[in-house]
């Protein structure tokens, strides 16, 4: 196989279909950027999950004196010291419980201030409005129901809350967004592949004279098809490179410069996560269009 001959054929083909090639590059780039983005998003969600689930507690909120009107579980008034002692004793007896921390209303007030101190509403809240609570760490975080069923109906208990539940809905939201991104990616990919099939068809038609002669003089089908497949692969690779640039820019400008500086509580994924995805994106960019071209040739180029 004469490399120079094949290379010049590819160059001619790409230039002949310049607008089509451009469309292929852009659609491959967008779909691969979405693909890489959703992979990264997935990784982000998983790392956040590990981080937050590790910190997540089961909280038993106790009634304070203002809850009487608002919560039916607190109809009997604020929790008494006797009830608190009893709950603590019961918790300590349970083998499931790893550690117990009692948060006083002053502590709760302090945390609240730290978190929302700058907001106007925070200035109205006073320490005695905050609930006391037991923060319990479980040996097995999935066994939340055991605590819930044991303490939910106790006098003096306002609610039992599994923080994992709130986190779960957040993570679910992120997951749905991720699925959405994957869906868009899939559509873009279909567009890209259809474009490639069309490009190959046009290309095969405009070169039917050459391919006809090649066939007659006994060029192998591999030799006849390679320029078309390489054309698609080169366009796809360019799209893949563009997608990598988009991902790197996204990490640099969106995550590192914007999100990470404004949101402290979330540990964002770093460069290593982004860089490990790039080879995959490039390989997909190279292979998918080549396969699409191969399939298209089977239909449009009789060898």
């Amino acid at each position: 196989m004469r490399a120079q001959f094949v290379l010049s054929e590819i160059g001619v083909g790409l230039r002949r279909n310049l607008t089509m090639t451009f469309a292929v590059i852009v659609s491959v780039a967008l779909s691969l950027a979405l693909f890489g983005g959703s992979l990264l998003m997935n990784e982000q969600v998983n790392s956040m999950k590990g981080y937050w689930y590790d910190k997540a507690n089961v909280s038993i909120y106790l009634c304070n004196k203002t809850d009487k009107a608002n919560f039916s579980s607190c109809a009997k008034g604020a929790v008494t010291d006797e009830q608190k002692k009893q709950i603590k004793a019961d918790l300590e007896k349970m083998p499931l419980v790893q550690s117990i921390h009692f948060e006083t209303s002053e502590e709760a007030y302090k945390h609240y201030k730290e978190e929302f101190g700058s907001q106007p509403l925070a200035t109205v809240v006073t320490a005695d409005q905050m609930q006391e609570s037991f923060r319990i760490k479980l040996k097995d975080p999935t066994k939340y129901e055991v605590i819930s069923s044991a303490f939910q109906k106790r006098p003096g208990v306002q609610t039992v809350e599994d923080q994992k539940d709130t986190l779960k809905s957040l993570f679910n939201l992120l997951r749905y967004m991720n699925w959405g991104a994957l869906g868009v990616m899939f559509l873009m990919l279909v567009v890209a592949l259809l474009l490639i099939v069309n490009t190959v068809r046009v290309s095969a038609f405009s070169r039917r004279r050459e391919t006809g002669i090649m066939r007659l003089v006994g060029a192998s089908s591999f030799y006849i098809q390679v320029p078309f497949i390489m054309e698609a692969a080169v366009a796809g690779l360019l799209g893949g490179i563009l997608a990598c640039v988009l991902l790197v820019c996204g990490q640099q400008f969106l995550v590192n410069n914007l999100l990470a500086t404004h949101i402290d509580v979330i540990q964002f994924i770093g460069w290593d996560a982004v860089l490990t995805k790039l080879p995959l994106v490039l390989a997909t960019g190279l292979l998918m269009p080549a396969l699409a071209a191969f399939a298209a040739l089977w239909k449009y180029l009789k060898v």
Binding site: I213, G218, A219
Partner: protein, 229 residues
């Protein structure tokens, strides 16, 4: 060299078969005219030789190979031993004469040194010495056909298949082309030529095979074109 054993060919969606029960043999070094009116099956006959089509019934042997049992990926190898010339020349308009001929060798992966040697040689043989760098558009019809013949012959095929090579040429130019094909035939290459040109067939006095509605109706050595026209 070529043997047809009871070959029939029918195309899908056509009631009448294109070839019906054709049996014949062509020896190495023969010059054969293939005559018959349009639709008589000449093109199908040639397409079977090139393995562009497969016979519906019967066996086609070309260069000692049963084409029905030749696997697809071996077809290109088989075609390298055949040369083909058409009525419409089929040259690449954006390549020079020499490039057109070289193209046939490039795409079968011949080394560059060999190509550089073979191309001027064959152009000299077909009488186009000195016109290597002309474009096909600058040449006369006869000269273009010579380029096509050079391309078909540059790989020194055992068999040259010509489908109405003089169909687009005036009588005088045609004679030149026929002389060239005759010269190629004398080098030992088998030539099969489909034609409508009565004058040429009558003058050359070679073997004539006539097809009519897909049947072999005449196989005559040193024959003439025929009675009907």
């Amino acid at each position: 060299m070529i043997r047809f054993d009871n070959v029939s060919k029918s195309y899908p969606k056509q009631n009448r078969p294109a070839l019906r029960d054709v049996s014949l043999e062509i020896e190495k070094g023969e010059f054969v005219f293939l005559v018959g009116s349009s639709g008589s099956g000449k093109s199908t006959f040639l397409r079977l030789l090139l393995r562009e089509e497969r016979a519906s019934h019967g066996q086609v042997h070309v260069l000692g190979k049963d084409l029905a049992r030749l696997s697809n990926w071996k077809v290109p190898q088989m075609r390298r031993q055949l040369g083909t010339v058409f009525q419409d020349f089929r040259l690449l308009p954006n390549k020079t004469v020499a490039e057109n001929v070289a193209f046939a060798l490039e795409v079968i992966g011949k080394p560059r040194g060999e190509i550089r040697k073979a191309v001027p040689q064959v152009l000299e043989l077909v009488g186009l010495g000195g016109k290597e760098s002309r474009m096909p558009g600058e040449l006369s019809g006869g000269e273009q056909q010579r380029v096509a013949i050079a391309r078909a012959f540059v790989n020194r095929p055992m068999l040259l298949i010509a489908d109405e090579p003089t169909g687009n040429l005036d009588p005088q130019t045609s004679v030149g082309i026929m002389k060239l094909l005759d010269r190629i035939n004398r080098t030992g290459t088998t030539v099969i030529m489909a034609t409508h040109d009565q004058q040429i067939v009558d003058q050359m006095r070679k073997r004539v095979i006539e097809l009519d509605q897909g049947r072999l109706v005449r196989d005559q050595s040193r024959g003439v074109y025929g009675y009907q026209h």
